[in-house]
Amino acid sequence: MNEFKRVFGAAAIAALAVMGGAKGAWAQAEVEIQFYFPVAVGGKAAESLGGLVAEYAAQRPGVKVDAVYAGSYVDAMVKAITASRGGNAPQLAVLGAVNLFMLLEEDLIMPIDDLITSDAEREWLDGFYPAFMANSQAGGKTYGIPFQRSTLVMFWNKEAFKEAGLDPDRPPTTLAELVEFGKKLTKRDAAGKVTQWGMRIPSSGYQYWELQWLIGGKLPLNNADGNKTNFDDPRVIEALQYWLDLSQKHEVMASGLLDWGATPKAFFEGESAIIFTSTGNLTNVRDNAPFDFGVGFMPGVKDLGVSTGGANFYIFKGSTDEQNAAALDFVKWVSAPEQAATWTLATGYVAPRPDAWETPTLKAYAADFPPAGVSRDQLEFAVGEFMVYEQYTVQSFIDDNIEAALTGQKTPEEAMQDAQRKADRLLKKYR
C-alpha cells in the first residue's frame, strides 16, 4: 500500500498547504484524470458509480476524477477510440473485457505491469479471480483490471415450479434435465396456445455469449492470439442444434428471436418460467419479480463451463506519469474490498476479488440474499469471453448466423460454416 500512502500523504500535505493559504502551489499539485464508463445492464449503476467517484474525491483532494458516462459498451468504445485519435484520450476507461485486442491494435492502452512499482501492487494484481483475468491478458502482459464483471446465471420462478409439481428448490442441473423440466413447465390452454414457456434463452443481443455456455468452456471460440475462431467445430454446431431443438423439437421455448432487454420483463410477467441472463440483472429481478424466485448455476455448468462477461478498467497511453499513477490509484481504490462490495451491492455485478467477499457488507448481503453468491461460486467453472481482433465485426458474423439458425433460415451447420468462413477471411491478416 505504498502508493496509497504516498498519494494520501501528498494529498494531506497539499490540504495543509491550502489551509495555509498557499493556493498557487496547490493548484499545481492537482492531478486531473478523465474516466469513461459505460453501463450495460439495468439498475442504478451509473448513480452508484457517481457516489464512488465523489467518495474518492473526498478522500483524495489532490486528484480530480472527471467521470464521463459514455453509453453502452459499444458507444463507450467508439468514444474512447475517437477521443484518442483526436489526441484527447481519457486516462482511464471501463470498456468491454472483449475489446482487448481492438484496443491493442489501436495501440491505445498500456500494460498495467509497467505501472506497478511494488510487490504489494503485484500482489494486488494477482488477487483477482483467474476467470476474470482471462480477458485481461495478451502476450504475457496484463492490460485489464476486472470491474463490472458478470456471468450468465439461471433465474427460475419457484411458484411455477410448484404448480408444475417440481421441487421449487431444485433447479435443473444438466442440459438433459433442462429439457425435461422445460416440458413440465410449459403450459398450454385448452386451445393449445402456450400460456407459459418453460424457458427463455435470449437470442437478440449477446447471442454468442449464451452459445458459449451451451458449447462449454472446454472449447473456447477463439485462440489465444485472437486471430482464429472455432465456429465450425462440431461441438459448436451441436450446441446450436440443442438451442434450436428447445423451440423446434421439444417446444419448451418460444421460437424466433427472443429479445435480450425484454427477458426480465418476460420473467416477471410469467411468460417464461426460467430465464438465462446476466447476473447484472440480479437487483432488477429482486426489486421487480412479483413471485418467489431462485438463482442458480447454469445447467450443466460443471461439465460445460460458462463464459464471463462485462467490462474492465484500461489505462490509456499518452498521459503524464502523475496521471497514470492517479489512474492506477483510483482503480486500486475502487477495487478495494469495501468499494467493490458497495458496487456489487448496488448493481449485482460480481465483486472481482475474493477479499471483497470477506467484507462485513458482502457477508451480510450474501447471508441475507444468497443468490448474490451464485455467480461468484460459478466462477470456478468459468472461462474467458470470446475475444478476437475486429471484435464487433466478427461478433456480428456469429450473432447473425446464430439468428439465422434459430429462425430456420439456415441449418446450424450451414450457419456456423458461414460464420467461420467470414471470420477467416477477415482475421487472415492478423495471423
Partner: protein, 326 residues
C-alpha cells in the same frame, strides 16, 4: 421539392401555385442596381450566396465527392495505415451477401412504406378537411406520430410487438389467437418496421395534402355535385389531379425518408434477425461506427448516392412531365 425544376428565371414553378410574375423576365436585373454594370450586380449576387454555399459545399458536395475517392482506399487500423486498393472494396461489396440483402430490404421497405403512407395521407386529409365531429382531435391524432421522436415511439412499438404479453398478442389473446414473433421472425421483422414507418409518416404527409385541399375552391365541388358526378369521379378527375404537385413533393420526401430514416431500426431490431430488417443506411452506420470500417462505409455510401442520383434522373424524366401536363 423537385431538384430539377425551377432553376430557370421565369417563375414557372407550379409548386408555389402563384401566377407568373409579370415583372420578372429572364433578363431581369436587380432594379436597384440597374444603373450599375452587370459585374457589380454579379458581385453582390455572389456575396449574398457565399455563406450558404460554403456550408453547402463543405457538408454536401465535398463529402459526396470525397466519399467516392475514399472508397478506393483501405481502412486504417492501428499500425496499418490506409492505402490505395483500387476496386477491392467494390469486390467485397459484390461478394457481400449482407449488402445484397440490405439492398433488397430497402427496396421492399420503400415499396411497403411509400404508396401506403401516401394513400393514407390523402384519406386522412380528405377526412379532416370535412366538417367531421371532433376534427381538431382527429388532426392531432393523425399528426401526433410526426411530432414524437422516432426513437421514443420505437420503444413503445416494441411493447406492441413483444410476443405473448405485448399489446398485439394480448389483443389477439382475447380471440384465443397468438400472433407471430413480430420482431424476432425474419418473415415479419421488416413488415413490422414498415408499419412503424407508415404510422410515423402518413400524418406528416397529411398536413401537405390538407393545405392543398384547403386551397381548392369549394365551388368546384358544388358544381360537380350539380352535375351529378360521383364522389369517386370527382376525386379521380378533379381533386387528385389538383393534388398532383403535392403528391410529387410528398413522393420525393417519402423516397428520401425511406433511405434516410433508420432510427427505429437502431432501437427496435438492430437490423435483425440476421439482417432481415437492416436498411442500407443502417448498414453504413453499422460498418462505419460499430465495426470501424470507414472505407467500406464509404463504399456503401457511394451506392446510396448512386441510388439517389438515379432517383433524381428518373424523377426528371418521368414525374416532371406528368405533373406538367395534367
Amino acid at each position: 421539392m423537385p431538384a430539377n425544376r425551377g432553376y430557370d428565371d421565369v417563375g414557372r414553378s407550379e409548386l408555389t401555385d402563384t401566377p407568373r410574375n409579370p415583372f420578372a423576365s429572364s433578363k431581369a436585373r436587380f432594379p436597384g442596381l440597374s444603373r450599375f454594370r452587370p459585374r457589380r450586380e454579379a458581385v453582390y449576387g455572389w456575396l449574398l450566396l457565399l455563406p450558404a454555399l460554403v456550408l453547402l459545399f463543405a457538408f454536401t458536395h465535398y463529402p459526396g465527392l470525397i466519399t467516392i475517392w475514399r472508397s478506393f482506399f483501405s481502412t486504417a487500423r492501428g499500425a496499418r495505415p490506409s492505402k490505395f486498393i483500387g476496386l477491392d472494396n467494390y469486390v467485397t461489396l459484390l461478394e457481400d451477401d449482407i449488402f445484397w440483402q440490405v439492398l433488397w430490404n430497402n427496396f421492399f421497405y420503400a415499396l411497403g412504406t411509400i404508396p401506403t403512407s401516401i394513400a393514407l395521407a390523402i384519406v386522412m386529409a380528405l377526412w379532416v378537411n370535412r366538417k367531421l365531429a371532433g376534427r381538431g382531435f382527429l388532426r392531432l391524432f393523425y399528426f401526433a406520430p410526426t411530432m414524437l421522436p422516432l426513437v421514443a415511439v420505437a420503444n413503445i412499438w416494441m411493447f406492441f410487438y413483444t410476443p405473448s404479453f405485448g399489446f398485439f398478442d394480448q389483443l389477439l389473446g382475447i380471440f384465443g389467437l397468438s400472433g407471430p414473433n413480430w420482431l424476432g421472425d425474419p418473415d415479419t421483422a421488416l413488415l413490422s418496421v414498415i408499419i412503424v414507418a407508415i404510422w410515423k409518416e402518413a400524418g406528416f404527409f397529411m398536413i401537405f395534402y390538407l393545405a392543398a385541399l384547403q386551397a381548392i375552391s369549394p365551388q368546384l365541388e358544388e358544381a360537380a355535385m350539380l352535375e351529378g358526378a360521383s364522389r369517386w369521379y370527382f376525386f379521380r378527375r378533379i381533386t387528385f389531379p389538383l393534388l398532383m404537385p403535392t403528391t410529387l413533393f410528398v413522393l420525393v420526401n417519402a423516397v428520401i425518408n425511406s433511405f434516410r430514416l433508420v432510427d427505429h431500426i437502431i432501437v427496435m431490431t438492430g437490423g435483425g434477425p440476421n439482417n432481415a430488417s437492416a436498411l442500407l443506411l443502417f448498414y453504413i452506420f453499422e460498418n462505419a461506427f460499430r465495426f470501424w470500417d470507414t472505407a467500406y462505409g464509404a463504399t456503401l455510401t457511394v451506392v446510396l448516392l448512386l441510388l439517389m442520383a438515379l432517383f433524381g434522373i428518373g424523377q426528371f424524366l418521368l414525374l416532371d412531365r406528368k405533373v406538367h401536363y395534367q
